[in-house]
Amino acid sequence: MATEAKTQQLVVSVSPHVRDEESIAKIMWTVNFALLPALIMSVYYFGPRAVYVTALCIVTAVLSERLFQKGLKRKVTTNDGSAFLTGLLLGMNLPPSVPFYIPVVGSAVSILIAKMLFGGLGYNIFNPALVGRAFLLITWPKLMTIWSEPTAQFVALDAKTTATPLGILKEEGIVKLLEIFGDKMSLYSHLLMGNRAGSIGETSALALLIGGALLLYKRYITWHIPFSFLGTVALLAWVFGGKGALFTGDPVIHLLSGGLMLGAFFMATDYVTCPTIRKGQIVFGIGCGAITMLIRLKGGFPEGVMFAILLMNCFAPLIDRNMKPALFGAVKAAKK
């Protein structure tokens, strides 16, 4: 009788009253899982070196977060998968042929400088993996832009080096690109499958789309950022991408090449560094797309996704502050 009475009691507690099963760890490990198809494709094309580089990144990232938290006697949170994710993303953003000290330095910079010194998970302004990559690209510009040709043989041959499709597009134009890959359909399918030079995890657009679809299905990300990002890139590529005349560009090449799919689905959507308001996320995505295309078409680098996301990261708080929706039931303040 006593227990029954207890369950009948009215319990007063503060909200939230209904809790979901989701946790940081569950989301992070799902995102890691969603990156798996792209990683498998890159191992298929680039051989064991892709695994070594990515594994080094992950191990350094997790270790440096652990050591930092242990050293400062803070709660160790490396099991939530966020350091693992940073390491994995950084590894997927590196060329497969880099010397092994590069992933170690980059991962340490990502975690220690871009994440822990800002206060840890949830306080960083910039996406840690991208800060690490920007640091590496500026520090070792030559080593970071040696791209090896995909071999599709699981052997550690000294792979031939070549330029990325975007690099060829920038330096020699689309004619040369078609000369290498055959006709347009063959070029598209190469880009879709990932049979091209590039960073470890960015090459296979199809595998990344599968991972992105999983995240969308689980509602860990919403369509706002990736679609506005990709849409802006496609639109600007179509309008300004052609030689000479407007509206003659090829949006498909720009959509499928470079780190766009990886950036749009996995890095621009990082909860910590993107706006939380839906309307703001669309602005964020459009900004990312516009800066990406500006760099690809007019800038000195062949690829601009990384700098675009980093630049828009600093605008995220500003977007959030200025696009705050009116409170439910509140009257919009009159303009002065």
Binding site: V105, I113, L117, F135, I138, T139, W140, P141, L143
Partner: protein, 214 residues
């Protein structure tokens, strides 16, 4: 701040540690990032600032009885500009290669917040000797900060010190670029803050122990 009651030695130490221009006050950061990509540049910049700061404090302290407060700012500016011109021309004549690299920033010493601030808050209210000591301390504090920053930036960014190669291999190129300047200043500032907190902690712990013993 009225007349100071600190001893001369305390004034010098104050400029080097507790009110260090760069690591404590966080002013005059643009030269500290622009010039510190090599130890040599940092050294000459630091020496110039020691000279200008000390001489400006000396002169301002000497004329503090004659300057009407309403026109003090242009007068201070002219004094600073005069000493900067001296160091500028001296370097142009005797240290040509360095001057070619940092000449612009030597001229910019005129607009340094730290130099004007010390004339305004200290030298104009204090006697000659304390003012000179304050200028010297501030200048040395800035000099040491420049040396520390440029030491790490040149060593990491070029694998060299004072232009002589020390380490072989691929150096961290980013450290000699402006972005690396921000990294170096930020990390060193954090390090010195951390050291300060540690020292204060130890001091208060020591006092607590003494109290308990008493």
């Amino acid at each position: 701040m009225g007349h100071t009651d600190k001893s001369n030695w305390e004034l010098i130490k104050n400029g080097i540690f507790s009110e260090n221009t760069i690591f404590r006050m966080a002013i005059s950061l643009c030269p500290s990032i622009a010039v510190t990509n090599s130890l040599k540049n940092g050294f000459f910049m630091g020496v110039s600032v020691i000279f200008v700061q000390t001489m400006v404090n000396l002169t301002v302290s000497l004329i503090r009885g004659f300057v009407h407060p309403k026109i003090r700012i242009p007068i201070f500016m002219m004094i600073i500009a005069g000493y900067v011109s001296i160091i500028d021309m001296t370097m142009a004549a005797f240290a040509r290669p360095v001057y070619k690299q940092i000449g612009l920033y030597i001229q910019l010493i005129v607009a340094f917040a730290s130099i004007f601030a010390r004339a305004e808050v200290f030298a104009v209210k204090n006697k000659l000797v304390p003012s000179v000591c304050d200028g010297l301390g501030m200048g040395i504090g800035f000099f040491l900060a420049m040396i520390v920053i440029s030491f790490f930036r040149e060593l990491l960014g070029k694998g060299a010190l004072w232009g002589f190669p020390i380490v072989e291999g691929n150096p961290l190129l980013i450290m000699v670029l402006p972005a690396g300047g921000f990294f170096a200043v930020g990390l060193l500032m954090g390090f010195f803050n951390w050291m300060d907190a540690k020292i204060a902690e130890r001091k208060s712990a020591g006092q607590a122990v003494e109290k308990q013993a008493a």
